[in-house]
Subunit: 486 residues, 2 copies
Amino acid sequence: MKTLTDERAKESVRVCPDLDKVSKGSPLRVGVLFSGGPAPGGNNVVAGLFDALHKVNKESILIGFLGGPSGLLEEKFRILEKFEIDTVRNLGGFDLLGTGRTKITTEEQFALTKAVIQKLQLDGLVIIGGDDSNTNAYFIHDYLKKNEVKCRVIGIPKTIDGDLKSSEVEISFGFDTASKTYSEIIGNICIDAKSSLKYWHFIKLMGRTASHVTLECALQTSPNIALIGEEISQKKWTLKELVSQIADCVEKRASLGKNYGVILIPEGTIEFIPEVKVLIKELNRLIEEGKGTSDLTSEAKDCFNELPKDIQNQLLEDRDSHGNVQVSHIETEKLFSRMVASELKRRGSKAKFNPVHHFFGYEGRCSFPSEFDANYCYNLGYNAIRLIQSQKSGVMSVIQNVAKDVTDWKPAFLDLEKALVEEERGGKIKKVIAKSLVDLGGPVFKAFLEEREKNRIEDNYKRPGPIQFSGPLKNLITKTLELESF
Amino acid sequence: MKTLTDERAKESVRVCPDLDKVSKGSPLRVGVLFSGGPAPGGNNVVAGLFDALHKVNKESILIGFLGGPSGLLEEKFRILEKFEIDTVRNLGGFDLLGTGRTKITTEEQFALTKAVIQKLQLDGLVIIGGDDSNTNAYFIHDYLKKNEVKCRVIGIPKTIDGDLKSSEVEISFGFDTASKTYSEIIGNICIDAKSSLKYWHFIKLMGRTASHVTLECALQTSPNIALIGEEISQKKWTLKELVSQIADCVEKRASLGKNYGVILIPEGTIEFIPEVKVLIKELNRLIEEGKGTSDLTSEAKDCFNELPKDIQNQLLEDRDSHGNVQVSHIETEKLFSRMVASELKRRGSKAKFNPVHHFFGYEGRCSFPSEFDANYCYNLGYNAIRLIQSQKSGVMSVIQNVAKDVTDWKPAFLDLEKALVEEERGGKIKKVIAKSLVDLGGPVFKAFLEEREKNRIEDNYKRPGPIQFSGPLKNLITKTLELESF
């Protein structure tokens, strides 16, 4: 029986005209690694690298480091052959090599990196990752340069969260596919809400710092409420205020006979709420000092006491190896639904309120890349080899004008050093690539605002459906990219 | 911008040759209602009814009852017009009319049903629902017949769970689309597991009585473990044994350097485990008698004490309006992961074990119907009118030979009375349509067994990807239907 895996792996991808001109040259030896969480399209970056390398010279070699940056440090790698590249073209996943979150930051690690690069005689190292990994790419480049090692380091902009973008970088790869995958499921749930007539769906979505995914999914599906972290932060909305806003919506809809609805909540919301931020900070400090919740300041204590019992337990018991609260483990969707239930009770409301909870994240990180991501990633990889060939280092591979057809795409690069800013991280000032947050004055948020009030009350649910790989819908791009490219 | 909603709504569906011959006749007045949870394809049943009715006679009328069976009792209905039928063709959801779970069982309700049917002068009533709703369809038919009301009652086999099937009924509608939607997401998660290399995904799936959905998804995606309720029941596996099986797999994989995996758990598993069944029964009785857990029998107490704290709380606190444990609310996926973690600790195991939890159900009930479900549902609706026209009543609309192309499909019917069996429900013997369970000697379970042992250890993950509506993959059927049709 035919499968999509077979069909997609056979499908050819397109290279923009400027890249098609990659010139012949001496054989190159290039290493590549995945860093951080997977994003759809990673395999096509590798396929782009491989094909471009072999267009330059058939003797070129592509080395894949296994399990992320640790594969480089530990010399775990494999020389990639055409037959295996041909089995992963247009397929999702970072499983060709595996990925990991090891960061190369210590002097010892840099020295090790240099030694491995020299041993393998690499002309180039390609790091496929998000903001942290691209920051890392810059520092590896800087170290190699200072030590006069002639290996060019290129970063590839990856993240489903969409927070690695700028005036130069129009979109990070994976955002297109992941947000479409979530929108498919959210759209289904919206229609289920309107069919079953009795559930309020609280849906948490990935996106810890930026709410781009939630914003895109909201434009694709028109839920009743979508919280946007950046707005909560700017308006300094408290937990009580947010709960009250949701309870108002539940009551208003109940008065219209609608005991159902859909709410999107970005994973990071919890960290945007001022008093919760303070609480988490205090809890981290208290544990370190061996104290208990009785030592919280009164502001933090008030906030803690308002939280549902199971969330309180989670905050106290679920700690990482440094004793810190595991923010990403907090079931924010339940936190809100429980507090809304309490608020409705407090108000003596007669609204029927049956919450159902969801968290979508892992569901979209390894989907089959959309036609957009398949082409985009292949071009990013292809371009990386062009950059290595032209002796660029400490740069990110960039493709511009991507809202248009591939024939109009323009390869470019971003000097990573220029992208660095100083930020406080863990009490120290560090040079990093800043995460790009939702622009509350930008066209995407404006489009959301235009619909927001009526979507709270009316059932304007939309269902984009599953990603299509043939037919008239295969070339759809995200609303975010469309609106930002005008 | 084009949308899948627009594209699908325009797409025509096919009627099998025997149905295309529906003969002209007097105008008919037919009522239709949705009953129970939504399933992809419901709109196409209604579209099939509508088109067939108008082929019989352009003056025919289709009346849709709103919000499920209660719409009939409360005379909440709408005469359906062509323009609105044309907006929902090939789209998922029961939102055209809404659905509900009211059952028509009392003498008063039967009398009311009769009165409404007579008032609206219905020639036919079509009930789109699962086993209970089709049982209900039979008893409404029986009541009308005894009271000499000439309204024909036809049931339509709906359920994503796939447990409404028999030698006559090859598949219930919705199973194809829902299991493909879940398989898409599960496949993505499998690849994520193999990419990220550090998570064990515990995925709960809908299917409270039968495990058909889990079995189909297992064949589509090859996870490391898939629990099948019917097997647990047959082999009388205890909770401890199941937890031990999973912990063995976690340890074995860890010894191979694989600290990740995927486990599918049908929603109803918990009720298949003998000692949990006893515990739930006792808890329901104790609450009724105003007693506490200290009054549990020692067998039930042992089982209760083994459960993780939060699951214990759930069992004690989360009750329905009759004070019964809400089995469908139990987070079975967490129950297993917590107990596996404890078991690994007890063994002194060094396996790294980071569980992530998912529950997929609402995600697949309102998807765009697959090409199979779109055609199948349209034919079921079309056939229902043919049955009404030929004076059949108390029957289910059936289409056979559906593993083949539409041109080979055969319309038929099933006498509901013959499908009834006696079962104990809530302490009383009742005539019901029995749920069809997984046949442990059948070809589907055999296919699963053939792969099971190697899938535990090896990474044989498959990713079917999103449902396609054009191209070579649009006509795929489920493995279950394929294997059962040989």
